[in-house]
């Protein structure tokens, strides 16, 4: 029982991470029908830049292991903001290099160009930080909370709280603000949006900045759980992509739902047999898509004949 509770907690934390990244896929897919297939690489600078900033602040070289005494919740927060800003800025570069030439062209070229961008980004990080992984302590310490006998790591709580707050905030922005309205207008019909005076390209760039920033945030949030390294991104991003597709790429709340579902299933199956996690998840995904090709909450697209 306690094991299940424990698994639920880490599943929620993991799911929150998947949801964050999946939300980024949703935002750019809605506006451009493209998304960053190399998103995994964006988690890398997200975690490593933040860690390096903390290390530099502690008067150490940019690479090395971080001691728990060298960070507080406040400095971790500042480092997170800096990471998110930098990765968000890389999103602008991504848009101009890998997306803009291929928007509206159709075909698969944008898939390959974004993968290419990701490879370059990852190898740049490899040149700066090297291949070894860096252990990162949690700003809330490593003492396990005991809830009904189950041990829950503080970073898992932090991850879930921050991610959920960001997702709720983003949901509010998209549904209730002027910018959100413009974003939805572009998603619905870019030409019509342009006619009523919306700067479509600006909205699209912001969408990519948000999407990249979310990946950066995910990177630094999971660093204390997975360690920070150049190679953490691919697996996480692939699951996040799966979450987005299963929940419904066209539906923001569906993407978040998909994230939590995936995180929970992964944690619970892991309890049973760790090596069956991926096999179970991806078989389930295939079955879900056969029954509901546009995902659980995705809008069914009907081609008009």
């Amino acid at each position: 029982m306690t094991a299940i509770l424990q698994a639920l907690a880490s599943g929620l934390a993991l799911g929150a991470i998947y949801g964050l990244i999946a939300l980024g896929f949703n935002i750019t897919y809605a506006t451009t029908k493209t998304f960053n297939f190399g998103q995994g690489a964006f988690l890398v600078p997200g975690s490593l830049v933040g860690v390096s900033l903390l290390l530099l602040a502690a008067g150490k070289p940019h690479w090395g292991n971080l001691a728990p005494s060298e960070m507080t919740l406040f400095t971790y927060g500042l480092a997170t903001l800096a990471s998110v800003a930098i990765v968000g800025a890389i999103g602008i570069l991504l848009y101009y290099c890998a997306i803009k030439p291929f928007v509206g062209v159709g075909g698969l070229n944008w898939v390959l160009s974004t993968i290419g961008f990701g490879i370059i980004l990852q190898n740049t990080a490899l040149a700066i930080w090297g291949p070894a992984s860096i252990a990162v302590p949690s700003p809330l310490g490593n003492e396990v909370y005991r809830i009904a006998g189950a041990g829950i790591r503080p970073q898992e709580v932090l991850v879930a709280v921050v991610a959920i707050a960001v997702m709720v905030g983003l949901d509010f922005v998209i549904r209730r603000t002027r910018f959100g309205k413009a974003l939805r207008a572009v998603a619905f019909n870019p030409q019509a949006a342009a006619i009523v005076g919306i700067n479509v390209e600006k909205i699209v760039i912001i969408a990519f900045v948000i999407s990249s920033a979310l990946a950066g945030l995910a990177g630094i949030l999971i660093a204390p759980i997975t360690t920070a390294s150049v190679f953490i991104g691919l697996g996480v991003a692939l699951k996040a992509f799966s979450a987005a597709i299963v929940g419904g790429l066209t539906n923001a709340r569906g993407c978040v739902l998909g994230g939590f579902l995936l995180g929970l299933i992964e944690a619970l199956v892991g309890l049973w047999r760790a090596e069956m996690r991926e096999i179970t998840i991806f078989l389930l995904i295939i079955i879900v898509l056969v029954v509901r090709p546009s995902g659980l909450l995705g809008a069914r697209s009907v081609e008009k004949i």
């Binding site: 897919y29 290099c97 890998a98 030439p101 291929f102 062209v105 075909g107 698969l108 070229n109 898939v111 390959l112 160009s113 993968i115 290419g116 961008f117 990701g118 490879i119 370059i120 990852q122 190898n123 490899l126 040149a127 691919l234 692939l238 992509f241 799966s242 597709i245 299963v246 790429l249 090596e275 069956m276 991926e278 096999i279 991806f282 078989l283 995904i285 295939i286 079955i287 898509l289 056969v290 090709p293 546009s294 995902g295 081609e303 008009k304 004949i305």
Partner: protein
Amino acid sequence: MPGLHHALGVTGVVAALALVPLLPLNDFHLQILFTIGVNYLAAAGLNVLVGYAGQKSLGHAGLFAVGAYTAAIANVDWGINPWLSLVLACGFGAVFGLVIAMPSVRVSGPSLAMVTIGFGIVVEKIVTEWTDIFKGQAGLYGISAPSIFGRSFTNLHWVWFVGLLCIVTHLLLRSLLRGRYGRAFLAVQLAEPAAQSVGISVVRAKTLAFVISAVTCALAGAVVAQQNQYFNSDFITFNLSILFLVVVIFGGSGSLYGPLFGAVILTLLDAWLARWPALQHFTYGALLLFSLYLMPNGIAGALANLVKRSRSAQPPALSPERSLLLEQKRDRGTGPLLVVKDLYKAYGGIVPVRNVGFSISAGKVHALIGPNGAGKTTLLNLLSGHVAPNGGSIRFRDQEIAGEPPHRIAALGIARTFQNLKLFGDLSALDNVLLGAHLHVETSFLPSLLGLTASRRAERAARGQALALLTELGLGERAFEQAKSLPYGLQRRLEIARALASRPRLLLLDEPAAGLNPQETHELGEVIQRIQAAGITVLLIEHHMDLVMGISDHVLVLDYGEKIAEGAPDTIRQDPRVIAAYLGAEDETEAQIEVVA
């Protein structure tokens, strides 16, 4: 001309392979040549799937694994001869191609990417974790290579063998893709509903493409396992799936030679840069990022543009045969061809077709009119099978067709055009008509694959007939132009030609005069009358009242999903309910339909 160039090219490759032992090549060089061949094998089949059928797969490493592990386990654990293991690997590849096709043909876009990625990862995890059978990272040792006269393959033999496999694969695929099957794949990629309307089963076409790609990918995996004599789970990664896709797209998807360019250039680049691993990755990334920007259709596309600039395309000489329009005289005035009863279709609360019933008599021109939103196009979609009804019956030549898939209805003899043109835009006008005749090109899979004479003869006959039909409809001069480059009026007419090429008994035309100028509309009327004279029954949806009243024998009027009147044009013209439906006012019975037409 292309035939001669092709024969020279293939001879050149064979000669180059024969000369390999004379060159100062070491084992490293031979390994590179071998890798080129393997990448080509995997990419050539994947190109059929991605470039022709338009199904993007990001999981073909899984199929590579199927081939490699079949060859390995068959030999090591079951003691099966290496040659037989290769055949077995292709067979298992085909089976797994079917397995991955089953979920894949039901989804599209990002969901398709997801299903294929999922397949690749599931296979990767199975071979990694199920160590009892697949030995995981430790791998399977001692896989025997094929041997001839008791002598095992050397590295040189492997290059020859893979080269031979590549040439055979190329010849088979070339023969298949240049005919009926290649056209069908492209049709599925370019316009699914139109492909269905000419009798192509989209599910079957996509499944076939999956199986073809699976077989070549499995073959590639099998030869790698045998040449290496060792195989472990580290070979099978998501990156391998990406690599295969990159070879196809960078080389030029949808071109026969794209995978060749991709395999040669990427393998050489990879080998050359292997000395500087960091640079290798950056180059790979930059290649993906920028090459498609500079060459959207890959290397093959860029080369084709260069060649096109230097010489204008010479259409092959073709002698038109007798036109189909002159040949058929079958359904002149023989009772009802189609009987519709209580047909019902609802989308949630909207009911575009509500208990409609009518019958269509053979050999006549019937018109279906009604205000916008009356449900005309939905009714047509129900008849052609593009939309399944919720209830009611459609009997065509005494056979129930309600709810049948469109390709089967097309095969029974109902052809259609589309309100918003659905031509195969990238293909020539001739190919569009040839696709119309898809069900009548008399060849099946094996003869097409092997390029047998019978298959080539059928193809030639079909081309002659298609050209005759185009000529008959005034499109003969433009048979070799891309459909999308034709003027709008001719595009509309080409759609009619495509529909006629399927030799229908009933032709459904959805607003054929939309967007036509008065002269073109007049000509359209004449064309429809000629179609009727050829014995083909016509049902047309049209807003253009001059046309409707001028050529139809019988008019059906639909409003809010219900049939409100039917009869001869003159009767309809006077019908108060029809007038009311068009003008929206019950009491202005004197108004004439022409006012709104």
